[in-house]
Amino acid sequence: MTSTTEKSLFLQGFWSGVPFFFVAAPFSVLFGVLAAEAGLNLAEIMGMTVLVIAGSAQFTAVQLMTENAPVWLIIAASLAVNLRMAMYSASLQPYLGAAPMWQRSLMAYTMFDQSYAVSILKFEDEPDLSLSDKVAFFTGSVMVIVPTWISFSFVGAVAGTAIPENWALDFVMPVLFLGLVGPMLKTFAHLAAALTSIIVALFFGFLPSGTGLLIAAFAAMAVGAEIERRRDAK
C-alpha cells in the first residue's frame, strides 16, 4: 500500500509544514493563556482546541465569552470566521474527492489555511500526482501543525503567562502566506484576482467576523474566472 513515492510525498508534505511551527506555536500558547484568563478550565480549553482546531474561530469565541455575549452569538460569529474553509473544501474536491470517506473526513478535520495553501500549490504545480500521492502530501503537511497547536495550547493554559511581545513573530504568519501566494500568481487572471481580494477585503475590513473576507473572496473568484473565460473565448 505505501509505495516509495507515497512516502516521499508524505515527507515533502511534512517539510512544507515545518515553517508553520513558528506561526502555530506562539499563536496556540496565546490561545491557551487568553482562554485561561477568560475563565475556562483546562478540560474546556483542551476540548475546544482538539474539537474545533481552528485558531481564529477559537480566539473569536474566547473574546466574545469575556464580553459575556449570548451563546448563539458566540457560535454564529466563530462559525462565520470559519466559512472561508467551505471554499477550501470545494477547491480541494477535484483533487481529493475520490479518496475514501474516512480519509476525506480526516482531511476535513485537518483542513487549515496552512494545509490548504501548501497542498493546493503542490496539486496545481504537479497535476500528474496520483490520488494516494495527494492524500500522502496533505497528511504530511499537517504533521507539524496539529501536535504543535494542541500541545502549545496546553502549555499556554497551564503556564498562564503571556509570551513576550516580539516584533518579528506577529509578521511570520503574513510573510508565510504571502510566500505561498507568490508562486500562485501564474497568469494575469490570478494577479487580478489577488488584487481584487486585497482591495475588497480592506474596503470591508470594518465588517465583523470574516464577512468582509468572504465578500472579497467571491468578488476575486468572479474576476479571475471572468478574465479566464474571456481569454479562452478568443
Partner: protein
Amino acid sequence: MNYSSFEIWTIIAVMGIGTFLIRFSFLGIIGDRKMPDWILRHLRYTPVAVLPGLVAPLVLWPDATGGEPDPARLLAAGATLLVAWWRKNLLWGVFAGMATLITVQSVLGTI
C-alpha cells in the same frame, strides 16, 4: 465571564461540529463527482482570492503598531511576494521578507 459548564460545553460542541461540517462540506458530499466547468473555473482562483484578503489587513494595519501602517512591514510584504513569485519558491520569499523587515527596522531605528 458568566457561563455554566453546560453552556460552555454546548458552545464547544456546536463549534466543533459546525466547523467540521464546513470543512467536510464539498469534499465530503460531492466526493468523486465532477463539478460543472463554470464552478471549477471559479474554484481555480480560490487560493489567490482568499489568502491575499486574509493577510492584507495584517500587513496594512498590524496589531504590533496599534493598527498604524508601518513602512517596514509594507516593504517586507512586497519583498516576500515579489521574490516568492520570481523564484517560484516559498522559502526564498520568506527569507527576503524577514530580511527586509529586519533591515528596514534597523535603518529606521524602530527595533
